[in-house]
Symmetry: C2
Subunit: 161 residues, 2 copies
DNA sequence: TACCCTATTTATAAGGG
DNA sequence: TCCCTTATAAATAGGGT
């Protein structure tokens, strides 16, 4: 019992729900601790089959504030979105490689799967560069988050008073 | 050494950065595990003084997909926003009560103050329903409930020991 | 179904290089 | 600053009620 669980979809509905509730609770606690200890902004959003609404931390309004911030960042970076995506993937690949090197001495099987993972990431990267879906998504998010911005400003104002 | 850390802003820059990197890494790992094990969508977004860019999980594009979903949800619920806030506040109050009941056996003084707090929250809540400053009060209530939550967490922890 | 109980696993604060 | 180690704290899988 209490054995290490393999990181894969849990087939049993009941077990999955139990572990979902446990881990969701812990995750939210962790986000709370991280933001408190480090004095930073952060949020977590989770959609499950167990709730019709998304479960978020902190409150939905706080999350919207964080999303507004994320939007601002995206807006600022919009002009070089693809470049950013490239950088991000390069970073991911590099980190995978670093991880791979660390594991080399210890675990050959893991190493092989990481190499495979790197190849997959690279393929995704190519697909992404040729897709214009992202821009549409970005525009949609932009429009919607304008509403969120004014909402967040209201909350900011009230917080200051 | 290795003592339990108080849940509060870490004043030391170096220690804060160390703990930030450790906890951010673990948090992302946890989001990964949760979404994989339960087959659900989820994301985490963190802004820190240590990175000019927000740090997210999973990739920025996946996060945007999740945000789009969140946006859709907000849109759908827009017409009954106030009702949602009401539901949310009711839920939060109920959760505080549950937590409070769990703590009853352990700490009477804290219990009293929490009960008082709940009354205050309830009054605010009633006002909220009849007021056009819904958002302001909601924010305040949320802040209060966060205090209660962290207080309750502390007590939970100390009760366990 | 949801809670409670513990053996294990995992996370992490300190300390050292 | 970053990485490694290790003792302690926290999370959690599986089982019981």
């Amino acid at each position: 019992m209490r054995k290490k669980v393999k990181l894969a979809f849990m087939v049993s509905d009941s077990a999955r729900k139990i572990t979902y509730n446990k881990r969701k609770t812990s995750l939210i606690k962790k986000v709370n601790e991280l933001t408190t200890l480090c004095g930073i902004d952060g949020c977590a959003i989770v959609y499950s089959e167990f709730h019709s609404e998304p479960e978020v931390w902190p409150s939905p309004w706080e999350v919207q504030k964080v999303l507004t911030k994320f939007k601002s960042y995206s807006e600022f970076e919009q002009g070089k979105k693809k470049l950013n995506q490239e950088s991000y993937l390069r970073e991911r690949i590099m980190k995978s490689k670093e991880q791979l090197m660390k594991l080399e001495k210890n675990n050959w099987e893991t190493e092989k799967s990481l190499i495979l993972f790197q190849c997959l990431v690279k393929e995704d990267f190519v697909d992404t560069l040729n897709s214009n879906v992202l821009n549409d998504l970005a525009w949609e998010i932009n429009e919607k988050l304008k509403e969120i911005t004014s909402k967040a400003n209201e909350l900011d104002t009230s917080a200051t008073n």
